[in-house]
Subunit: 356 residues, 2 copies
């Protein structure tokens, strides 16, 4: 569904800040005085409505039962702010939910830090906040604490959002890149390069027959299903965002001191995405994903875990795409469709700036 | 001690990124490829050296023993980046350590999210990172996970830093603005308005006989001492940052539904700061502090807790400055030196933009 066909999730909800009085965000909205308080109370607390946030402390207080926590932070600077399939708000929730999930954890709370450029239309801010709220509600992970700063015009780009997440790691779960070991198989949950190519297509003004749409999604229920089935046999989880599948696998190979061999043939990719990559000159292996997950698992559990992934709506096109090997520690190799083997290196330059 | 007299904490440490090759931060340093990895591995992981960060996961995994956590986030956009008494790096550590401490918690971990403007001198980044490291080490709170984004020139202002902190709340501690109740006394840990006036003086190019210096400091050992002594009698803790003492007390009065009466006379303030406030036209009650703490405590424990504060290096000039009353719920009143009583309202506009 393309952006402009999306049902209006805010139907009937009016921006709680009077837009005629405050058509844009002003420096005073970040100054700690009355306007700051209005923005926080009337917009943020109302939108992210939950009892923890409503305590309105310097921070949130969370009751927990756990002996291990996952803790992950990400700042979102995506340009443009709105794109087919999402916006900076939904991306900021999905991305951090996913980073926590990739530690093998159940996300329980998120913080949101806004850096807003003076002059951002209040209606845009409200649209972004609503989108965050919807994403957080859908994921079942509350935004429990936040912070708002406003910077002068020309010192930002509309809005940047930091989200930081906390998750609880259940007993018996042990996810770490160092656990990748020779013999393990590499699972990929779905088609690659969708988010990055969507953003680049919007920026370049490209039109395709089928409109591309970001794959941005919260993956924590998918990883929970994999962990529930696979337990200790699930060794590594990773969402291949910036730098794509190639960079994620290179990092894992480097950290674990193993080689990783992948096959081109089973890697799911959509025709439109492949075509756009050709037009734009990108290798899809290096293009960002925001709703895909790599799992490196013990060989004996791989088939079962593949079925588990495929049984989840976000993993329907999951595939086994490679294996961990002893040779060439730190390196990733790709066997092409016609049988050639090439090194898939880390990129040395910038491929896609401000993709997330 | 003024900024330029400060001993060089980095003496002998060379920037681990070769500055001749990379004199400034480039977009590719945030792109997820080899340059990103170099910045993260060689600079951030080296500087914040600790075993949790070194796991280099999508997030950090923390072992904990607690049934309540504090969780707080803040983005730092202070301008200028370097100022007498600190810089954006030390401020980002102190500020978040303090926000966690003001929940009554012992801070245990911090995340750092960097939004860097393309073109930031690499030497400045290294200086800021070193300063964060020193502040974190001094506070005993490790930076365990992070994120780096680079935005194009003209879309930022050197660097913005988000830090998010986690802390553990011990049993028996119950800190909340709602606990302020009539009869409680208001303690203030030291002289007000120092940080805000330092920043404004630098911006305005003002010179004073005694150079002003930010009070930026980590207050968690001070609050720990107060909580250890006062336990359940400590009702509210708050660091009066943006908006100063006046805004902090107004927020508490509003949230607790009580009135707060403060006396001008005992409020500690330095002569230089008072003079600078007059020159710049600021009411010091509204000016940001970064190393001061308000504690609202049961009347019967107030004297003892005042002595506890005064026994701490950061609380030597602590004073009892007011009381919580039943009348005029939501309002703050100031009794002036000559006996007049006036309402101390929330500020409606922006007083000091980008002070933290």
């Amino acid at each position: 569904m393309a952006d402009d066909e999306r049902p209006d999730l805010d139907a009937g909800m009016v921006c709680p800040i009077p837009i005629s009085d405050y058509p844009t965000v002003q420096l005073a909205h970040g100054g700690g005085g009355r306007l700051s308080q209005m923005l926080i109370d009337d917009m943020f607390v109302a939108a992210f409505d939950n009892p923890t946030l409503a305590q309105l402390h310097d921070g949130a207080i969370l009751g927990i039962k756990a002996d291990r926590l996952a803790f992950s932070t990400d700042s979102y600077v995506v340009h443009p702010l709105f794109f087919p399939g999402g916006d900076i708000g939904s991306l900021a929730i999905h991305g951090t939910v996913n980073d926590v999930a990739m530690c093998g954890a159940r996300p329980i709370a998120i913080s949101a830090g806004f850096i807003i450029e003076e002059g951002l239309p209040m209606a845009d801010l409200w649209r972004i906040v609503q989108s965050m709220r919807n994403a957080a509600n859908q994921a079942g992970v509350p935004v429990v604490t936040g912070d708002t700063k406003v910077v002068d015009r020309g010192k930002g780009d509309g809005i940047y959002i930091n989200t930081t997440g906390i998750g609880v790691i259940d007993r018996g779960i042990e996810i770490s890149p160092q656990r990748a070991r020779p013999g393990d198989l590499v699972l990929l949950s779905g088609a690659i390069a969708v988010h990055g190519i969507t953003i680049m297509s919007v920026r370049e003004g490209l039109e395709f027959e089928t409109r591309l749409e970001s794959d941005s999604a919260a993956l924590h229920t998918l990883t929970a299903a994999v962990l529930e089935r696979g337990g200790h046999d699930v060794h590594v989880l990773r969402d291949p965002t910036r730098g794509g599948v190639a960079s994620a696998l290179n990092e894992i190979a480097g950290q674990a001191g193993v080689g990783i061999k992948i096959d081109e043939e089973p890697i799911p990719i959509d025709e439109e995405v492949r075509g756009a990559c050709e037009i734009l000159g990108f290798d899809p292996l290096y293009v960002a994903n925001e709703g895909k997950c790599i799992a490196i698992v013990a060989r004996e559990s791989a088939d079962e875990l593949l079925q588990t992934m495929r049984g989840h709506p976000l993993g329907a096109r999951a595939a086994i795409v490679g294996e961990v090997v002893e040779e060439h520690p730190g390196k990733v190799f790709l066997r092409s469709r016609i049988g050639g083997l090439r090194v898939v290196d880390m990129l040395s330059g910038e491929q896609l700036p401000r993709i997330c």
